[in-house]
Subunit: 222 residues, 2 copies
DNA sequence: TCAACTACGTGGTTATAACCACATACATCT
DNA sequence: AGATGTATGTGGTTATAACCACGTAGTTGA
């Protein structure tokens, strides 16, 4: 396992090279590749492992039998998924994890961590501390979607989402990680209705966009 | 501080009485009372403390300037809130915490925990491990709301929510912790529209209810 | 360069949830 | 008990998002 590539990810923050390679061994680190569109983890199943996206990106989504899709979040390079289910190893997953593009995943077995079965080594406490940060951030992310899907109007949802991305990226011009259908599924909207409203917002001078590149206009009103 | 009352809460799980009282001191435990309707923590502010509900209950909500309310969750006795913001002590809160009834809160200062400034004592790792569990469960809770608010129809949302409560409580007759307005704000609906749909669902033999007591009928269809 | 496929957008229709105004039931207080 | 206040329900109207069918643009591949 190549330590250099991952020593800067949140989960190994503050750890020495030695600790990291101990941790990688202790956590049974396994690398795996997936083709775009593949389901990496299936809703209903359980897992003792969390995932770190080394290359590519994945989406966390729920697909019901009628073909409806809910997208909870997008997980990009150097970000994590399934840490919740990995830790609570018995909890059946409510979501699928799907490869959004060809990607490479590092799996880490964390299901035993909180049980204290392992005698505490220096790396275990550090990993747990870092997992805590990851979990709390994931919390903010899920809260975020709750807010973006709250406005009754399409325009309200779009603005809530685009604003948050803009603030996060620190610029009014930015790419979003979703295509239209995904954006609609993230904002809990119907795709064509979203298209229409985006058009209107462009006509109204609120935003500009091309594909998944968006430009938030400074609102002229005080 | 009376240890007996709280030794069974999740955050002190697996700790000796001695560890618990050390932890209470180290976490600067403070008890406080709030009257129904009081805002305990304000959106926009930061906090280094998390809350444990000793008595009563609180709601986690967002109130915008136009009077719209979003309820993210209900936190009952022996449950926790603001652990996310307490840990990420710089993160401005996106939500208010409001006393749902007269209540008593135990505040624990956890803002320093993950920084490793404190030299590791036996209780710190245990608290962190337990916080991890709490955080991941909070994650599932937030995911839950994302799912309950996803169906396009009022009936779909109500069923999604009531089903999850029913499963969680293990019975088809149960109380929900919300009044109508709160239920509407949780499911992202307008109150009167919710009332009407509940009535229709009763007429259709899907559910029965009186106030906040609900009865899920076994669906007759295969 | 043409064909096939996918992503995206548009027009028109309809179902339905929001909204408003009000009624009724229920609880609280003196 | 009566009065006040709050929670809940109902009827009617309207705005709007979902839905369906189709067109167009943009991409991939032979």
């Amino acid at each position: 396992m190549d330590v250099n590539k991952i020593e800067n990810t949140v989960i190994f923050q503050g750890m020495s090279e030695r600790e990291i390679s101990d941790a990688l061994e202790g956590l049974n680190a396994v690398k795996k590749k997936y083709k775009k569109g593949t389901t990496i983890l299936h809703a209903g199943s359980t897992t003792k492992r969390m995932g770190l996206v080394l290359e590519g990106s994945v989406t966390i989504e729920n697909n019901d039998v009628w073909g409806n899709r809910i997208i909870l979040s997008h997980v990009g390079k150097n970000q994590f998924f399934a840490e919740t289910y990995g830790l609570l190893a018995d909890e059946p997953m409510l979501v699928d994890v799907v490869a959004n593009e060809n990607c490479q995943i590092l799996f880490l077995t964390i299901g035993f961590l909180h049980r204290g079965t392992l005698r505490p080594k220096s790396w275990t406490t550090k990993i747990m501390s870092n997992l805590l940060i990851i979990s709390t951030h994931k919390n903010l992310l899920l809260s975020g979607r709750n807010f973006h899907t709250a406005p009754k109007t399409i325009r309200g949802r779009v603005m809530s989402y685009l604003n948050s991305v803009s603030i996060q990226k620190g610029t009014t011009v930015f790419d979003i990680p979703f295509d239209r259908q995904q954006m609609a599924d993230y904002l809990n909207l119907e795709r064509t209705a979203l298209s229409k409203e985006l058009r209107k917002m462009k006509d109204d001078g609120l935003i500009d966009f091309h594909k998944n590149n968006f430009h938030l206009m400074e609102s002229l009103e005080l």
